[in-house]
Amino acid sequence: MEQQNLLEVKNVSKYFPPVSALHNVCFDVVPGEVHGLIGENGAGKSTLVKILAGVYSKDSGTILLDGKEVTIDTPHEATSLGLTFIHQELFQVPYSTIGESLFFGRKYPRNRFGLIDWKSLRKQASDELSKFGVPKNLENQLISRTSMAYRYIAAIAKAISQQCRILFMDEPTASLSKDEADKLFEIIAELKKRGISIVYISHRLEEIFKICDRVTILRDGQLVGAHRISDINIETVIYSMLGESLRDKFPKEKIKIEREVLRVSGLKSRIVSETTFSLRRGEILGIIGLVGSGRTELMNLIFGLDKKTGGSVYIDGKEVANSSVRSAIRNGIGLVPEDRQGQGLVLNMEVKANITLANFFKYCFGRFGIINVSKETKRAEDYVDKLRIKVKDVRGKVAYLSGGNQQKVVIAKWIDTDSSILIFDEPTRGIDIGAKTEVYRLIVELAKKGAGIIFISSEIDEILGITDRFLVLYKGRIAGEFTPEDTSPDQVAIAMQLGRYGNGSGGKNRA
């Protein structure tokens, strides 16, 4: 059943010297299909999409729409051709309203004076949004105050209202909960029925296999395979993505768990309710919860970023104040933050500078002293070796590294501080599978060396895979404490969603 290709990308290449981001890539889309586009970070998915979106210009190759060649030089041209894009960052203006975002960059409804007719705009926005079952009055809410899920729906509404024929979604579920993601899949199914094609870019293979009809795999800027979903399975895909097969996703080792290193008792703040838990050396404690469940807020309290309103924190048995980040670090706590680039690295500085940043006095003579450059370089190179960071020169800027390697630099920084408590906040987000395994391995190694690890994640399988024990947070309090051996993913999901766990055993009910 040969369908006319709606979109055809033939031998497109794009170079960012000295790297070739795309090389002779071919890609096509037929009407009414959901086409997955997968590959590791840096494989070229985003570059291809940005070329089609008119943000980048291709260096060679042709793009055909309905069989006719087209050039896409600006985003407007892309839109007029029926290609609409929802990028990973969503690109909405924070201080404008949802309703306004639907019209940003397009023709606003005007009144007879030629001025923007806000009333009409709000009505139109409301109409568009209501097709998605959103709360009333969403169109008047500020973007900065709206949840990612609704922002995503607004982006979809905008795309549809622009007569799109192919909708490109780049990592849509990155910031969505499981429920919100399911809702998204429903919407995608609806769109498909209406004849709109979806190009779905994601590295979450389970999703790809759930909703896509076909899949195209890129690796290192080149096309590695294009298949019907019915013809392949997850292992082959992983093999194509990595070039090697991957078993043992999670290194499982039996680590000797020793005495208690951290105890949190009755800790609370404006957002976090009374929380009590403990962590022991060598233990990997997981924390999972929906977006907004208070995970980050809890960690802020422990790391000295927020002020507590009650309760206490004990490290190695002694009570500590932890009123500032610096005191927390002095007490032996380290944090690998969620926003790798914005909070964990100084992108414009050298790799070695980043590695040594948290414990810099070690590399100086005297307190406010002169830098011992050779010591710094040597230690950085040691870390690069031990952690297998792919970088040629530690004096290069850390901005040029891939996501996975950047994360390793952040981890190296905290290893250098000899922290006894390490908090990892979504450490594998946005990293390809190969690097993920490396990060897991590192974490286990750190636990082996006697650190207490707190592992925050929103991926259930990750938590079940790597932790010794984990807590589920719900609306600012601990809903339950579980062990991976005795808990099924559904039970975790229920606890995350509802704040209690269902009928099965496997956890201590804290609700």
């Binding site: 690109f91 201080y95 404008s96 397009r106 001025l115 980050t296 802020n300």
Partner: protein, 331 residues
């Protein structure tokens, strides 16, 4: 007070804090010297604020874009000198006006080009422009006040010095400018694009909004308004001084920053307007309270810093409250 009432009153307090500040200051000054509260003085304050408002409104546009313009004060001085010099030469009147406005527009466009096309940081680029303009002002006027023999023609000084039932003409002009620019910002695509560029440049590129064109336009408008204010200033002073407009540099920025306490921390036309009134009230209050001339600078500067600090501290506290995720330490 239950929590809903609390949050509503907190909201009101925050949004209208400038108005409250104006009222507070007025009460303080009137207590010390009852002449402050008289209609005559209120009109005086408004008139005093008018030139600053026109300047600051233009500056607001640039600040919405998340850029700086350090040259608007020097530019208005240039307009002062330029227009006076041209009028001196008995050239058809409107030529002076057109030239001054044209120069303002031109400098604004240049600023915009430096930022948009050459990717220069606006702080540095406008610093350079300001330096050049100040130099030109000095060179052209030999550092002295330009005094016109026989005074400036009456049609020129009409707007600046005459009044209409005691209401100076500058006041309605100021209001017109404020209203016009408010309409621009809220009801035109250009205005929305300005907020867009200032809020998220990448979003604009992806949505097809031209970042460069918006920037150039904003700077151009700022320059235009600056020279317009300069014309009015010349009209009011009846002569030209190379540094006539320079003092507005501090006050202009202060007004916009104070105005940012409204509308959730973004620069806004109405906020700037109220900020100008506040600053003008303080300045004229100080004069009326007979603060010694030598001390006026210090006190005025001190109060400006104080108010902007208060404005920012409250704004920071509010931003802290609404933040749920990891603390962002940049302002």
């Amino acid at each position: 007070m239950d929590s809903k009432t609390k949050s509503i009153s907190a909201f009101l307090l925050r949004e209208y804090s400038i108005v409250l500040a104006i009222i507070f200051v007025s009460i303080v000054f009137t207590t010390i010297n009852p002449r402050f509260g008289r209609i005559y003085n209120i009109l005086n304050v408004l008139q005093h604020a008018s030139l600053l408002t026109i300047l600051a409104t233009g500056l607001t546009l640039v600040l919405i874009l998340d850029e700086f313009d350090l040259s608007f004060a020097a530019l208005s001085s240039s307009a002062v000198c330029l227009s006076v010099m041209i009028v001196q030469k008995s050239v058809p009147g409107f030529l002076a006006v057109v030239t001054a406005l044209g120069v303002g527009l031109l400098v604004g466009i240049i600023n915009g080009l430096l930022v948009a096309r050459l990717n220069l940081q606006s702080f540095i680029a406008t610093l350079g422009t300001a330096t050049i303009l100040t130099g030109v002002n000095y060179a052209v006027s030999e550092g002295k006040t330009i005094v016109v023999v026989g005074g400036l023609p009456s049609w020129f000084t009409f707007l600046g010095q005459e009044d209409f039932f005691k209401i100076s003409y500058l006041i309605p002009i100021m209001l017109l400018v404020v209203i016009a620019v408010s309409i621009l910002v809220k009801y035109t695509e250009l205005g929305r694009n300005m907020y867009g560029v200032g809020g998220n440049k990448e979003a604009c590129r992806v949505a097809g909004v031209s970042v460069g064109a918006t920037q150039i336009t904003a700077f151009a408008l700022c320059g235009l308004l600056a020279s317009f204010a300069g014309l009015l200033l010349a009209s009011r002073l009846g002569g030209g001084h190379p540094l006539a407009g320079d003092k507005y540099l501090l006050q202009g920025f202060a007004a916009v920053f104070i105005g940012m306490t409204m509308r959730g921390g973004m620069p806004s036309i109405i906020g700037t307007f109220l900020g100008c009134i506040l600053l003008s009230a303080i300045e004229s209050g100080l004069t009326l309270v007979s603060v010694d001339y030598t001390y006026q600078y210090v006190v005025n500067g001190f109060i400006i810093v104080l108010f902007v600090t208060i404005a920012y501290v409250t704004r920071n506290r509010l931003l802290d409250r609404s933040r749920v995720s990891l603390l962002s330490l940049s302002e």
